[in-house]
Symmetry: C2
Subunit: 313 residues, 2 copies
Amino acid sequence: MSKSLLVIGTVAFDNLETPFGKEDMVVGGAATYASLAASYFRNNTKIVSVVGEDFPQSFLDTFRAKGIDIEGIQIKKGEKSFFWAGKYHMDMNTRDTLDTQLNVLATFDPVVPASYQNADYLLLGNLMPKLQKRVLEQMQHRPKLVVMDTMNFWMETAWDDLIDMLGRIDVLTINDEEARILSKEYSLVKAAKKIMAMGPKYLIIKKGENGALLFHKNEVFYAPALPLEEVFDPTGAGDSFAGGFIGYLAKTDNISFENMKRAIIYGSALASFTVEKFGTRRLLEISDAEVEERLQDFVDLVQFDIILEENNA
Amino acid sequence: MSKSLLVIGTVAFDNLETPFGKEDMVVGGAATYASLAASYFRNNTKIVSVVGEDFPQSFLDTFRAKGIDIEGIQIKKGEKSFFWAGKYHMDMNTRDTLDTQLNVLATFDPVVPASYQNADYLLLGNLMPKLQKRVLEQMQHRPKLVVMDTMNFWMETAWDDLIDMLGRIDVLTINDEEARILSKEYSLVKAAKKIMAMGPKYLIIKKGENGALLFHKNEVFYAPALPLEEVFDPTGAGDSFAGGFIGYLAKTDNISFENMKRAIIYGSALASFTVEKFGTRRLLEISDAEVEERLQDFVDLVQFDIILEENNA
């Protein structure tokens, strides 16, 4: 039943500084976190990305060990991988970018290998909208579900390309601030209506430690983030969420609203592991039992029973 | 089954400015919103507060019409009511205080009428901790449940009195920022553990448009706020929430964790009405059918079904 999933996005090095520590040259990037989260479902997951000659073979082996197809990761001889350095504030919700070196990303031209071109599920990780479009155009048939992540930077620098992409996708994932910028509305309910009118049938608004909202037509679903005792490093939480979300949908091959709710809970669960250690470390070691236990935590967290007189009595 | 409820707190005038409008001399105050929210449950609700000669008789009649006992509202001849002026920012989560005039509050000495002294449920609205203690000391027997609201201001100016009060109450309600200040912990889970160790068996952390968390021992419950199309005026949302919470508990006279979850959903529902119009206007006009409908919205908002293999299969 499981369907093939294609993930595009960055595979990179990060220097990370949080109130709990500092680590340099940690392997990160949107496609890294998303594909590793999706691989939890033992899907047929494939990456399109680019790295430099400096990228460790050992981590490419890690992808393979997780069943991830890396034929689509271009390795640029003599060049360096994309690099980002950031520092999180005490609240862990805000961060400063200390350094960004595009390196191989500056000239990235995504190539979708022939063996990827029939993928049923497509996650367009946060990249320049024109590059996201280049990938979509190389698909032999329109995937069953296209999920796109983006960010405020593209709203400021590539507005027309971004709007063009909104007409080509099914699900958009952005954070609350970005939803307000994109829609010019403060109410997230109004923002969601406007954004869905721009193209995507589904909108996921990510709110960090405050969970995520899924909108579709007049329906809305709220998935809380699990209150965690320790948050060591929020990097990759959003990408793990997106990868877990589409990974579950690809595994179950069911894109009903009810199943999307479940997918969001799985995405939230996988994201909750990611933040427990630096980089991808925690994501690489989770067991099925741990995930099951965490899903039960989500059930317990929001479950209540109110007998509604008009509806249930 | 319904038990008597005593609410202490401010009854005041507010000048309110939001992105959607401006209204002056709106009747507000913590005890106003909390008692009106609690009155939805047709409880035997009583207020202890103080106003000046300028306070409108018509609003005192409004309290009475809602079945609220106002014997404990002192009316100070020749004095003015407590006054607050505030302006909300575009995100509606942050606000600037433009003016505060204590007036009658400066010399407030709360007196609990004899007919109130056996109340079973007590809501100590946000006030100087010493005044909250004065009320508690006038009760003939220790109420079945004491809920206390407070704010960062008292953490800065009356730390010892506040800590003393924490040992005397059952439920503390504060916002996330205040929980972090009080506990000196950033993780809300760690913060909750520390704060409960200071006295309260239950802790409610309010997160505004991001809902509320209820902690008790090792349990945690998350109630989302309903995503609303229109938020005109957030004033009184927290007090409506607290009043709805304890009002439901007094009505059902059941302080189990399961029932507290329901009480939080009711509190959230009542708060969601308050913000739809300026001041108390919306709270004064809600019908049972509207509340039932909104509770259903909460059920729909968070309801999902995941079959957990280990637990359900």
